[in-house]
């Protein structure tokens, strides 16, 4: 059918196996979900994001994304405090579907321990994980 419209998967990201991505910017990091997750979920209907100031440990649930068929929890890739939230995203889920690595970003975290990011998957490891 129609090839999915998507931006290319950037090289400089780290990934969780649960399909969240993380882009390190100094002591902060931007978090979203991957093109693979968006395509797999398909037909997004609802996104719940945390408030600014919320703190999460790596692996904790920071939100949920719901499609016509299913709901998926969103997991924090690293420990941190939410510095900013993409507040327009829940009202414009097409933006998430169209550009998951750009306009579809979800939260900006201040990392408690930036070294944690190195334990996440690199692009090629994520690629092979997602293909499984």
């Amino acid at each position: 059918m129609n090839p999915p419209k998507r931006s290319p998967r950037p090289e400089n990201l780290r990934y969780r196996e649960t399909h969240e991505w993380l882009r390190v910017e100094g002591a902060e990091a931007v978090v979203g979900i991957t093109d693979f997750a968006v395509e797999h979920l398909s037909d997004l209907v609802h996104l719940q994001l945390p408030r600014t100031g919320a703190r999460f440990r790596a692996g904790e649930v920071f939100g949920e994304v719901e499609s016509v068929k299913a709901v998926s929890e969103l997991y924090a890739p690293v420990d941190g405090e939410v510095m900013a939230v993409n507040g327009e995203l829940p009202d414009d889920l097409d933006r998430l579907a169209r550009d998951p690595f750009g306009e579809g970003w979800m939260v900006r975290l201040r990392m408690a321990d930036p070294a944690q990011a190195r334990s996440l998957l690199g692009a090629s490891d994520y690629e092979s994980h997602a293909r499984e």
Partner: protein, 362 residues
């Protein structure tokens, strides 16, 4: 896993495939919302080859079927179809069916999940009836053409006057040169047709419909949108709104249960339920939230659990989240405010008129 005669078509089109009651079926092609809206606005094609198709034959065929199903079939004309339920003696629903009266057969369409059960049930009640049952599921393909452009799409491929086929009527004809039973039925809430063709013709008929339908915006539609379409139309699905522990009166299917004019297995139990009034009823709920109430979620009234969601989804036409649930009859009135427990959050819901969606011309 079982495959329909159109399995290759789905795989080649890149559909997301799933196991559905033992059949390898397309869940979605371009996307559930996209496919759903196309059926509401134009036309969609569905492979329904997984549905059970049975022929009841023999001189006692009509007596056999009439003794087992809830609707009155006695006044049916040749080619007419009727929705009916198959019930146990206690009124519990074994399956819901579409029954056709054709020249030499009674043709029964049942759910994929219940095909063996329905065959066994008919066969278990054959004694003295001079009738027999043939399971023809694998011999025929079943293709639905649904939506406001269904008539134009199909009409270009057949000499049969489709406008002359009434709702819940069927006629034998040719589609793209292949013999077909053309039935004006469906499970979407739209006008449309369901075609029964020999399995070897399936691919050619499908391709002709896709090609001819392109001018009308046709899309192939998977089971995902089939479910959201039927739910907006508040049509029950076996295993969700219907089951052995459910009777058809509680499910709001009284229109298909003829307790006075027809005599069938389960009638006495259903008469008792009718005179007492069903203790619970199936209701249509619209949610206040963007979160989806899914099957099994608990319905609350003043903090107390009063029922469970049987199906829930996002309704793409309505742009609201909708659900069906069984609740005590006293809470079933339109306008009643209830809640659904969505992962610990009590989300407000309102009982609304059934169905959620009704097409304008209907």
């Amino acid at each position: 896993m079982l495959q329909t005669a159109l399995h290759e078509v789905h795989v080649a089109a890149g559909a997301q495939m799933v196991d559905f009651n033992g059949w390898h079926m397309p869940m979605r092609y371009s996307g559930i919302k996209d496919e759903h809206l196309r059926v509401r606005q134009a036309v969609g094609l569905f492979d329904l080859g997984h549905m059970g198709r049975l022929e009841v034959r023999g001189p006692g065929r009509e007596a056999l079927v009439r003794s087992l199903v809830t609707n009155d079939l006695s006044d049916m004309a040749q080619g007419q179809a009727r929705y009916a339920l198959l019930c146990r003696e206690d009124g519990g629903v074994l399956d819901d069916l579409v029954v056709y009266r054709l020249e030499e057969i009674v043709f029964v369409v049942c759910n994929a999940s219940n095909r063996e059960r329905v065959v066994d049930w008919f066969c278990g009640h054959l004694s003295g009836q001079r009738a027999w049952v043939e399971d023809r599921t694998l011999d025929f393909a079943m293709i639905a053409v649904q939506g406001p452009r269904a008539l134009a799409t199909l009409g270009a491929l057949t000499a049969t006057d489709l406008g002359d086929i009434g709702y819940y009527h069927a006629r034998r004809g040719q589609v793209a040169g292949h013999g077909a039973l053309i039935s004006r039925t469906g499970y979407t809430g739209e006008d449309g047709f369901e075609l029964y063709v020999d399995a070897p013709s399936a691919r050619l008929v499908w391709d002709a419909l896709m090609e001819g339908g392109s001018a009308h915006g046709v899309l192939p539609v998977g089971l995902g949108a089939r479910d959201t379409l039927r739910l907006e139309a508040a049509m029950p699905l076996y295993g969700h709104e219907l089951g052995l522990e459910v009777d058809p009166l509680s499910a709001g299917l009284g229109f298909a249960v003829k307790l006075d004019s027809s005599e069938f297995l389960g009638r006495e139990a259903l008469r008792r339920i009718r005179s007492a009034g069903p203790a619970r009823r199936l209701v249509c709920l619209v949610l206040d939230s963007k979160r989806v109430a899914r099957e099994g979620f608990v319905v609350l009234h003043e903090g107390q659990a009063v029922g469970r969601v049987t199906s829930g989804t996002h309704g793409p036409t309505l742009e609201r989240n909708i659900a069906m649930a069984y609740v005590p009859s006293g809470l079933a009135r339109v306008g009643t405010r209830l809640q659904v427990d969505i992962r610990g959050e009590a989300v407000g819901v309102q009982v609304v008129k059934r169905p959620f969606y009704k097409r304008e011309s209907a």
